[in-house]
Point group: D2
Chain length 146, copies 4
């Protein structure tokens, strides 16, 4: 039997850089990468059945509580980027992702990033134990029983 | 008795232009002015007791259905602008505003604009007759009985 | 011989709506459509050899001087839109485009819009006569001799 | 003699939260805080004579190479925030800032953040030694000789 726990869950999505993404020094404005990371999470959700609306329909939103971005290489107008979003398994009631953003033409790494999200009920309370629907999702995709 | 109908209702607000507002050709990106117009409407709401939340608490949202912007003069990094927002009275169930955006330093007119908003219930239905709370507001501020 | 003057020049591009495009009343924030219109012009430029950088390399930028947007139907999270950008021929030194933004799933028209751009030299002077490179482009694509 | 090295350099600026800052779950969208940090750096530059244009006129841009944001408390429509930006002295050719973003009404800490910037020449080369103009600025403000 294949051990799912060893296969990292990664989704990849491509984004065109537009004029409005570029700042006064002719590079993508650094804050725009936060949008691209969100694109990456959406692509992950689509690929692995963990969309924002699926989470919401199960009673939760998943606000970002930690964001770390390292900028390695500037991206410019007219270029295309690839956002790779990798799910990082952990035992607590969190969503952790690592990201790489690559320039498509030559796969130069432009950005490395990570985010942590918590589960919050619609009443605004942070969930401290793993929600049941998330436990099932983990069981299915990473063979986790926690 | 003072005839309120003749005094235009105008609110004015100042905005600093930041690095992230500037585009690749060193001007404020044209789409950002839509934000400044929203700032202008918020300033109008504060001054004349017609805030977004007041409208919402009365059961409505007021989506923009028409936006017209004429760009007359570019604004640059580090400049300050003044947004003047004028209420345009009309008899139907609409909110109409005209705007002027001026460079603060010399009052050069950078942008002229106008918007039209309709009243929509929270169920997503456009209201065709003037909502009662808006009728009262108009009575108070522009001496209108319609 | 085919009469190029009768075939409208239209480019079409698809855009995914992301979480960050959505406002507090669960619709695409109205100002974001200005980005989508820019996407439309970029798609037009790619299809018909009139990219921003081509214009720039010929000595010009083409700032928006007039923007008109009519909002007909709200777009929501997770939907896809199609931006159709049509070149409107005119005899003066202008770029005029009309746009339709459609919800992809059922082709409901969400937005109709138009923009006017002028040719500005890199020194910031508006060009009153048609630049030579634009004249050639018009000759090629719309069989215009003006 | 007052020991400048012990007095932290901190600038503070206030920001109104607008409708367009709010996301579909009624909070400030997490990516917008990157703008507020930029506001904070601009306020710091104004207060301590280290504006973006001053840096630029001395031959450099200072791109962000590292961004870390911790989100502690959500901010909502109509609230005001205070961004406190503190310069963190270091001996290498870097700019390091720590930030606190507070809700103005009750000084709840909404966000803690830090950024690192490097000095890049206009030719796109990172400077490894401290630029002379920055050395002078440090001498003046933090009594540093490095």
């Amino acid at each position: 039997m294949k051990d799912k726990t060893k296969a990292p869950l990664i989704a990849s999505t491509e984004i065109d850089i537009h004029f409005y993404d570029i700042d006064a020094v002719q590079m993508v404005w650094h804050g725009n990468y936060v949008k691209y990371l969100e694109n990456g999470r959406e692509a992950f959700g689509s690929k692995f059945g963990f969309e924002y609306m699926y989470i919401y329909d199960n009673g939760y939103i998943v606000p970002i509580v930690d964001l770390h971005v390292r900028y390695l290489h500037a991206i410019r107008f007219g270029e295309q980027i690839i956002v790779e979003t990798q799910y990082i398994p952990c035992d607590s009631a969190k969503l952790m992702f690592n990201y790489r953003i690559l320039r498509k033409s030559d796969r130069t790494v432009a950005v490395e990033a990570s985010t942590i999200q918590l589960f919050m009920t619609k009443d605004g309370v942070f969930e401290t134990s793993t929600p049941e629907f998330y436990r099932k999702w983990k069981k299915k995709w990473i063979n986790s029983s926690i």
